[in-house]
Symmetry: C2
Subunit: 128 residues, 2 copies
DNA sequence: ATAACTGCAAACGGTTTGCAAGTCT
DNA sequence: AGACTTGCAAACCGTTTGCAGTTAT
């Protein structure tokens, strides 16, 4: 289970607890607004700006990863991808990640995604 | 070479030509604003809204694919991904696609992406 | 002739920011 | 006390839309 960690010198307050717990309980990709709606049930005074700020803190520690289009996923320790150089054959790892959203896969294919593997082909820095 | 095709009942005008040509000449991922800037050199009267509308037309025919975060790629005919069911082992294809942007890979890793392969694992519709 | 298309400017919606009040240590 | 955090509302910015004039077929 990946941990959801805040950066140093930050406090775990009731507002942040609500946001972190909502993310921890969520399956698959999420948007800040989705998390906000859930977190507000536990902590009705929560403001949307605080939800955005808390997700940003989690992103800084690498606890969550933006997929683009406003959606995020919790990062898993074993979740990384490969940059394969077509010139020298070298393989490098990257934590950069993007994949079709769970919602889109569900809607278009009835498919419930659990994880993915991504290999990117191109020319590495040394060969460029 | 993937074709850039407009939907039926649409006209190929000078404005659209400029946008389509700019996309055709572009390598890798692009944003609408980037394409707009290039297309406007060929057709200075071009409006930003028309650039957005034209990219949307190309998306409808599957000629380009949104990656999220506002960036797009031209779709290639051989560019599709796999949905692998962890229950029955079946493999389904999808045209849904997302990958880290070329710009991000370049900035973070000095890597020049050319293509990628993506396998998504989960539970298919029949097994759900 | 007429349905499609255009640029413009205003509207929109998600995200960020400034700030004065409140809270944790 | 003092740094950190909050919710609010205003600002921001990329994108979409309404519209009156123009163009392709």
């Amino acid at each position: 289970m990946p941990e959801l960690v805040l950066p140093p010198r930050t406090r775990m307050t009731a507002s942040r607890r609500a946001v972190v717990d909502a993310i921890g309980a969520h399956e698959g990709a999420f948007t800040v607004v989705e998390i906000f709606d859930v977190a507000r049930e536990a902590h009705p005074a929560l403001g949307l700006a605080t939800a955005y700020r808390t997700v940003e803190l989690l992103r800084r520690t690498g606890s969550v990863h933006p997929l683009g289009g406003g959606s995020y996923v919790r990062c898993r320790p074993d979740h990384h991808h490969h940059l394969v150089c077509v010139t020298c054959g070298g393989v490098e790892e990257t934590e950069l990640c993007a994949a079709p959203s769970d919602a889109e896969l569900r809607k278009r294919h009835g498919f419930r995604a659990q994880g993915h593997e991504l290999d990117i082909y191109g020319v590495c820095k040394r060969c460029a």
